[in-house]
């Protein structure tokens, strides 16, 4: 799976964009979106997903169930 941003709650503050280690977050139509192909849930980089940790609105960066969990290569 990847993370996704709940557009209706996004304040467009840009905080997540700078923290994403995969450069997976970009602005689209006034709010921000995560590219699920690039998102690694921060596995291999940090203990917690950076977008979740820095987002000022709780429950705005959440797991997207439409994608399988990210599997780090062995």
């Amino acid at each position: 799976m990847a993370y996704k941003i709940v557009a209706s709650q996004c304040t467009s503050c840009t905080a997540c964009e700078a923290e994403c280690p995969n450069v997976a977050i970009t602005e689209k139509g006034g709010t921000f979106v995560i590219n699920p192909k690039k998102c690694t849930e921060c596995i291999g980089y940090f203990d917690i997903p950076q977008c979740v940790a820095v987002c000022p609105v709780d429950n705005t960066c959440i797991i997207d169930n439409n994608f399988p969990r990210y599997q780090p290569r062995a």
Binding site: T11, T14, A15, E19, I48, V54
Partner: protein, 520 residues
């Protein structure tokens, strides 16, 4: 536009000075006939040249956010290039963005560094009083270091006479002190609400630091350590540092005396204690939990108790992160991104200097008038202290009609002279709880601790109601300098007590109003 042509003309006539004439010439030259006027007044902090070291006074005398009279004459602007933040404060809600909202953390539009630089030049060319550019958010400037410093670089290269400053929560400050020095940013404000992590845990639910989210006491401990380290590093480099604190009754109100000592000992030159803004409709944690802000008397008492330690600032308007204009007069609507991008900007440093030289002459006249009046108070012996409210729209004069005033400046009068101690907003508000109330009643509540209100003019009805409330309406000093008039009034007040004509009564408390402005 803040003014229509008629209002603008009125402002200029009433200012009646060569400064206004020159300003009008500049405005006309720039093809903008209505931008002039001395603008709406702010007020004066207690800090004047007498309280500050000469080298500090030299740096702050033209800075409207810092010095007593400068904000009567000079304007500042904020550019909103820093949207991201790295901490969460219980008094802040970034989601709320009413167009009329006027408080920190709120902006109408974000700017790129390039747009911001163009906006600064456009404003500086139209408003020669504009001497200061600040970056204050709407997030934290140092959580957006690339955007913040790119903006400073662009302005530093094209308009070197504009002072640069920034306002930060301090978490990332130690990492950027050298860059701050490099761009000649000589004024930094740190918001420090506590030096005790147990108190901090009640104000900050979390911080984001070194790729981790910290909460509770641990978060507050990191924050206070970083803030105080950053302050020390600025002081070492000779960069002026002001400390802002939000007064939260029952949480940090008593503790702020300790904060005051901690920041003073580390070299902060000015402390600005501001009332908590916590209207429920803002949706902040404090707004929703019903945490109240301080009353006017509580705020003043805390500021007074810290004043022995260091200079206190009392004129803060808690502006938005995209404010433009003199303090208390937001002209940001004139300079939206669309309008700026269409503007032909001709940055004329000479006309700016000519305006500023005239301003210095006017300021000197005011200081001299106050000094002369003050000498006549010598020999008066009395413990009596009273507060007065003043309706003014600028230039340090009593020049606003009672009914037009959107705020009153409050001065404390004693045999020591007239001291600015704060301001009270009485403007129209969004309907949150104030909608049905009689406006005169709410004005009286806002200045209920004052013995008199100085105005340029006042109608019969409000006069009667003010007298009934024990507040004397005074229009005999219309268009005179405020402090000179206040001292003259106080002498007369003492004389009237002596003759038995009046009885000195200690006044009650007053409300601090908050909420969104309604422009119009």
């Amino acid at each position: 536009m803040m003014y229509d042509a008629e209002q603008s003309l009125e402002v200029i006539e009433e200012a009646g000075s060569s400064v206004a004439d020159l300003l009008q010439q500049i405005a006309e030259h720039k093809g903008c006939g209505t931008s002039g006027g001395s603008g709406k007044a702010s007020c004066g902090s207690a800090a004047g040249s007498g309280d500050l070291a000469p080298e500090i006074w030299e740096k702050v005398k033209n800075h409207p956010c810092y010095s007593e009279e400068a904000h009567h004459h000079y304007a500042r602007m904020h550019v909103a290039v820093a949207p991201a933040c790295n901490i969460q404060c219980n008094y802040c809600n970034r989601k709320y963005d009413c167009a009329n909202e006027s408080r920190p953390g709120v902006v109408s539009e974000k700017l790129t560094p390039e747009q911001a630089a163009k906006k600064v030049l456009a404003v500086a060319s139209t408003i020669p009083q504009m001497t200061v550019l600040g970056i204050a958010g709407p997030g934290d400037p140092l959580a957006n270091p690339a955007k913040t410093f790119k903006t400073f670089e662009l302005i530093y290269n094209t308009a070197p006479d504009i002072k640069l400053c920034l306002s930060t929560n301090g978490l990332m400050l130690p990492d950027h002190v050298d860059t701050i020095a490099k761009y000649n940013v000589d004024h930094v404000t740190i918001t420090i609400n506590m030096v005790d992590p147990d108190i901090g845990a009640q104000i900050y639910p979390w911080i984001f630091y070194q790729n981790k989210r910290y909460t509770g006491r641990e978060a507050a401990q990191i924050l206070t350590d970083r803030q105080l380290l950053g302050l020390e590093m600025l002081t070492e480099r000779g960069i002026l540092c002001k400390v802002n604190s939000v007064m939260i009754p029952g949480v940090n109100d008593k503790h702020l005396v300790e904060v005051n000592r901690a920041v003073k000992s580390r070299g902060a030159f000015l402390h600005n204690i501001m009332p908590l803004i916590s209207a429920p409709e803002h949706g902040t944690v404090f707004g929703l939990t019903g945490q109240r802000g301080p009353t006017a008397q509580e705020l003043k008492a805390l500021q007074d108790s810290c004043e022995g330690e260091m200079n206190m600032m009392r004129h803060c308007r808690q502006c938005r992160a995209d404010a433009v204009g003199l303090l208390g007069e937001d002209r940001s609507a004139e300079f939206t991104t669309d309008k700026i991008m269409e503007m032909e900007v001709d940055y004329d440093i000479d006309s700016r200097r000519a305006y500023q030289a005239k301003v210095e002459v006017e300021r000197q006249a005011k200081v001299t008038a106050k000094q002369t009046e003050l000498e006549t108070l010598a020999g008066e012996m009395s413990d009596v202290k009273i507060l007065i409210a003043v309706a003014t729209k600028g230039g340090g004069r009593v020049n606003e009609h009672f009914g037009h005033a959107k705020e009153f400046q409050v001065y404390e009068l004693s045999t020591g002279g007239a001291k600015f101690v704060g301001h009270r907003r009485v403007d129209l508000y969004c309907q949150g709880g104030f909608g049905d109330e009689d406006s005169l009643e709410s004005v009286i509540r806002a200045i209920n601790d004052c013995a008199a209100v100085f105005v340029a003019k006042i109608g019969g009805c409000p006069k009667t109601d003010l007298l009934k409330a024990g507040i004397e309406p005074v229009d005999q000093y219309a268009h005179e300098f405020i402090e000179q008039s206040a001292i003259a009034y106080f002498k007369d007040y003492l004389a009237r007590i002596r003759s038995g004509e009046i009885e000195h009564i200690v006044r009650g408390d007053a409300d601090i109003r908050q909420g969104a402005f309604i422009n119009g």
